[in-house]
Symmetry: D2
């Protein structure tokens, strides 16, 4: 590789001049500088820097998925980048502990100066949500209304434009649909699968009916739940039923993509599925960490404001609590356990497929 020509100095390289002069407390402008406003600013600046990094990784991952075919080598890099996003997310979740060192009273000494600024105005965070697949169609109603409301026109246009581009969710869906091993003719996997799951559901039903300790109303609740699960199983292999459940939001992935994801999960120990399974697991964890972040964030806001309104004129914590449950993206993967079978009940893979899913080392033949 080419050698560098000009010597590099740490401070210049990191542009610290810019970076370390970018903290201007509003309270100072009102001749009432609040010691903790600096913390407030820096915590949010750090968040934004990490968001930029996450977006940097996300962009690279999306580029890989843009290709018609994703090569195995690429998967290594893709999984690596997604794991980095996860590591950063965990750090962001820990970081909430730093802002919690600010007492509500200390926050009050400057919060009024920030009106109507609000975390809802973080363009990068919204880029992240859209990029991962949380487009307006999938947002909870409350959010649909407020997602753009607090942004200036320039930011709104920029984001709305992004909604037209394929998200990671959509790219993953396409990639799953392209998986070859589903058309394995003469391998009647799904029939076997259906039989196995029917037995399993029957057993679960028996279990609930058999248990003595639970109250009747609870037993009924459980049985209803088993019914619902049974419907889902039925839908898995029935295009029409599936589409209905897709419309009512039970499923989000296309049937084809869902079946691929299930197959990979069932046979996750096949070497060829190692990377694809890691990929699916990463998406689940990214979704989970985002949710935990929203949740911890909501708790922190409640602690900071109680039931008072936030600087953006909204009850931040109520809003955040509501988004926690609903604004999920990869719930299909998160709920995959519903459709699993114990290894012992798994149909054995035909030899030629088995071989196909293993490694084949030229030198070995």
């Amino acid at each position: 590789m080419q050698k560098n020509t000009t010597p590099c100095y740490y401070g210049d390289y990191l542009q610290l001049e810019k970076l370390l002069t970018a903290q201007a407390p509003e309270s100072a402008k009102y001749a009432a500088e609040a010691h903790d406003e600096t913390l407030f600013i820096i915590v949010h600046q750090v968040y934004e820097l990490w968001f930029k990094q996450i977006l940097h990784e996300l962009k690279a991952v999306m580029a890989e998925f843009a290709h018609a075919e994703v090569k195995d080598e690429q998967l290594t890099g893709i999984v690596h980048k997604l794991k980095r996003i996860i590591t950063i997310q965990k750090l962001l979740n820990t970081q909430i502990g730093v802002i919690e060192t600010m007492t509500p009273q200390d926050f009050m000494s400057f919060r009024d100066y920030l009106v109507p600024a609000s975390g809802f105005q973080s363009v990068q965070f919204k880029m992240l949500e859209i990029g991962l697949g949380l487009k307006s169609g999938f947002r909870i109603d409350f959010d649909k209304n407020s997602f753009y409301s607090r942004l200036n026109v320039k930011d709104q246009d920029f984001l709305k434009h992004l909604e037209d581009e394929p998200s990671l969710f959509e790219r993953i869906e396409k990639w799953l649909e392209r998986m070859p091993f589903l058309q394995l003719n003469n391998f009647s996997f799904w029939q076997m699968y259906q039989q196995a799951t029917d037995t399993m559901l029957a057993d679960d039903k028996a279990t609930v009916q058999g248990i003595e300790q639970i109250a009747e109303h609870e037993r009924e609740m459980q049985l209803k739940e088993i019914e619902r699960t049974a419907e889902k199983f039925a839908a898995l292999l029935d295009a029409d039923k599936y589409q209905q459940l897709q419309q009512d939001g039970t499923f989000r992935l296309s049937q084809k993509a869902m079946l691929s994801a299930l197959f990979i999960t069932l046979y996750q120990e096949e070497p060829m599925f190692n990377l694809p399974f890691q990929l699916l697991t990463c998406l689940t964890e990214i979704d989970e960490n985002l949710t935990i972040w929203r949740y911890k964030h909501a708790m922190m806001v409640q602690r900071m404001l109680g039931t008072k309104i936030g600087t953006g004129g909204s009850s931040g914590h109520d809003y955040l609590k509501r988004t926690t449950e609903k604004n999920r993206i990869y719930t299909d993967l998160f709920n995959m356990a519903t459709f699993l079978l114990p290894k012992s009940d798994l149909p054995a893979l035909p030899k030629e497929i088995k071989r196909g899913l293993g490694f084949y080392f030229a030198g070995q033949e």
Copy 2:
């Protein structure tokens, strides 16, 4: 202190013989030993050991509060013990990551053998909930029904008996009610406070009405919220209104205790309030960590089972999600921010009180 007479050996001291032979996988009894069942057992055993430790601290703290008067020296030890509970809770929350290394499929290889055992049968965890103050009266309905349902009679009786004893919540409430500084006659603190808060609410109202970016329906929502907050403020100093809000669950602490807690929080920087304020903060964090534990736990269960039923014949994750929000204990402290004032708006304390809240060192006079 007395010297020890008999030499001590690590393994005997920790009774490792007992401890390390207490893992008996059910799957082994069915000639299908599942590698991961050992993990499942050990994770839960570790939880139980930590629960014992937390109960050990809780018991000691409660004993201190049993006295009519709690001396300052005692507060040091009480806060120390509560902080230890918090440290342990944080570890328990991290520990969920270990059980998450078990894939849903691996769990399936032994879960059926455990029916109908369930985490809901952890007596120590229920002791903890009751001890902290989560007695049947305060549990969410669903929980009211199921709290005891899965336990054997012996365990049920033991726990029901505990519900009659004063919980930490009740002891703290008494302790707050006993605080001397509220009867400070001729210090018209609460009038001043009321004026200050009226102004604050008026400002908040103006803010919401002033903001342009938000949708009308949202503005109304916010204004309603301010109304509700105003009612709470009004109730704070009005015995009858307070009682109503106490009945509908808005407040849980008695009015007297609530005012003490608020006063301590407002003047938290007074040396005499340092320990009491630390105490209140600890209770908030214990509550918060318990909630985060329930939440992460619910996510983990969903990941493990999807929408399938748990070994205890319940949809663990639904249940846990519901308890997360409702089964809170120290919400009054958690929402305290609602009633705070910026330091700048705080009525200055009269000299004699100020002095009373400081230290007085004999040698200094």
Copy 3:
């Protein structure tokens, strides 16, 4: 899978009767029960439970490596188990924060009763060290003497017996030596490698000579270091030189194994190397976490005892500090970076090998 026949009860399943009655504070026997001794006992019992779990995983991994050939499917499970060990180790490192909630003064209220018990008497921890590959030959001298000294005869015999069995280190070494792709005749990889590294070292040398800011003595130090590195590079491909460096402890792995590990690391992005590379990374992290544990542990002991002696009659913290640096196992992997090349300088793999390292899906042809 077979259904379970007898109902299972949480408390019985976990043998809580045994578990929760296994805490007997020594201080109580001297009618001076120390509140914190319970914490001390429980913390160590939890450590032992986790050690048991780690040994459970380690044993399973070793069994896999016992086979002459390790199949790709097996690697999935092996890496999964090693990652679990890492997750547990991280928890153990966090757990030190719990014991740190005990003040040195509180520890003094019971430590004298424990003499001469000591953590050095943890048989499971020594099993772990031996199992990972830290056999007497590799221990630091001080440790060589004291490793067995504090144990009773039964424990000593048990452990000494273990030293004769192949450790994970030895099994991994064999596995690496068996890798096929090194005998790839007519692929002159190592010549190309040598040329590339010579250039790299020359550049480094130039760099050090070129930098202005550093003091002369420092520059010399760096140049010496580059020399040493050069020797290592030379040894990599020279059996005799390698053996010398192996004897003086610079390398621990056999030359053949070292070259395999290096090749895997260099071409880590080849799909076939994904699992092997994950495996090597896991070993590095296990080693790193063990070291961090020793280090934090040493700090904690210093904080607890200052320069006083431990209950085992040794200066725990001095000892632990010394082991931190020296008692490492997978240093060859940890230092692998020394021998890497930038991807851009990597010799491209010949087509037939490239293909060999990729996936080959039956259906695709």
Copy 4:
């Protein structure tokens, strides 16, 4: 408080324009943009932002200690700020996990372009070290030479100037020396203390001579250690001996400050000592976290470079390892356990002092 006049927008408030355009990978300038250089830049920028925050807290704490007398109210704020520093440090230690997601090979794709930039050029980190009390006099020799060597003249002058100002260490020392309760005439505390400690050392000696399991050479080592400890005890109350041990670096605090710190630690449960003891504990933890950071950092550098030289032309990891042990500041506090006594052996405090250390509430008389 004054209301804000101009509406505030999130992005402007945080100066994101500046912040998010401050990442300019060197590799891009050589038409070989390396994906991971962005991570490298952002990780370091985040470190610098946190350093700024820590310095912000440190500055405020130092200002408080500038006063001749530090009031109790101030201690509340001081401890609060130090605890925030600790929370941030813990985050910084976790953050190392993010940079570890970069493989050594990925680092190689741009490291050469950064020569001779180096983390040793972080002015803020050096400000932190100097501010906490790590002035040239106390640095390890190697560091004495290299501390300034890599900085440009402007930065060197700025830092050298800081060395003349009193550090936190010096301010704390003064504060401890000013403590009133040491001149408590007619309270012969230190005689009692000396007797108690003599007994304790005699017991320790007996213990070591009594233990059977340890090897002779080890026994001698331990006895020597007890001797050394005895000398320290003797020096505690002997001005001349103390000064000697101060010169050879055994103690760093002045005798008077050391005795104050010890007294506070011994009677930490006295309410009046609650805040001072928290303060001393914070300093110990700040020191400990800084050390853990150096240690983990050294491990990471080793993993990244092996034994290769760093971009600054130094073997970063060797250097860092060496500083880990030696560059400590509050070792006197860290070793305080050496001089403690079990509560049971503590001389009871005379009534008038006891009262002096308690609270005195006007209303109670």
